[in-house]
Assembly symmetry: C2
Homo-oligomer: 134 residues x 2
DNA sequence: GTTTATGCAAATGGTTTGCACTCGA
DNA sequence: TCGAGTGCAAACCATTTGCATAAAC
């Protein structure tokens, strides 16, 4: 499906900024910060406020999701329905972020349900030094 | 050990703000936000900037640790060496935070080490509705 | 032609910093 | 006494908002 169509399918208008953003998210599967997006949008004339407004709209439309790795700012990554739920490892030195194919053991959520919790979600992230930085 | 002694042991001077903070952290084992600390410090005359400076010093001195639950602000909890490493569940409705006695399976870190990562740490938090809010 | 998105500028919220003053050891 | 801690005001940084203009459909 064309980028314009994808936007229209979510009830969003297609604009230069939005389609550039969509293209970036299609090409990059690791979570990007607003700053990183800005550097990838170099050449395009736009306002930072519009960037954040787009990111909010995209998030609401489930085109992307917010990733918070405790860095003091947010990251955004495209929602690929093939590998929807996943976790990340970030290198503390080069800040490279990789997706990891493991999830938490069911037993923990099962235990929490037994103690009364419902509608459970979780967050799990790893931090360390990657092979190249070690 | 007296609070004053604990501070001195870390090379920190004892002041009204610092000893009040220490007392709060000793009495509350769930992670507290700066705002929550301020309401517990009611009656004491101090500057918010000093509060953050104390929290930073305490963190550096390993008296407390920063807990980031993705709320847009930090929480701080005392480091109790008896139960040093642990995780949290937060209720999305009443914001109650509980400590949970489970950790991630060793296999995940083992796998990450095999792919080249070293000095690994992790973060794992659960979110849901607690028994009372369900 | 309407609705929606954008640019600009100013505001927000959590937190940090510079600097002169004050206090604890 | 003397360095560490504080108050005050201003700065910071990521993000948000109000409002008038401009572009998409």
């Amino acid at each position: 499906m064309e980028i314009t169509e994808q936007l229209h399918a979510k009830g969003l208008k297609s604009t230069p900024l939005r389609s550039s953003l969509m293209k970036i998210f299609q090409d990059h599967h690791s979570p990007l910060s607003a700053e990183e997006l800005e550097s990838k949008l170099k050449g395009l004339d736009y306002d930072p406020a519009s960037l954040f407004r787009c990111l909010k709209k995209f998030t609401e439309a489930q085109l992307i999701r917010v990733v918070d790795l405790g860095e003091g700012f947010h990251r955004f990554e495209s929602i690929c329905h093939v590998h929807s739920h996943h976790h990340h490892v970030m290198c503390n030195s080069c800040k490279k972020i990789e997706t990891i194919p493991f999830c938490i053991p069911k037993e923990i959520e099962t235990h929490l349900k037994k103690t009364g919790y419902s509608h459970l979600t979780h967050r799990m992230d790893f931090f360390g030094l990657c092979g190249s930085c070690s």
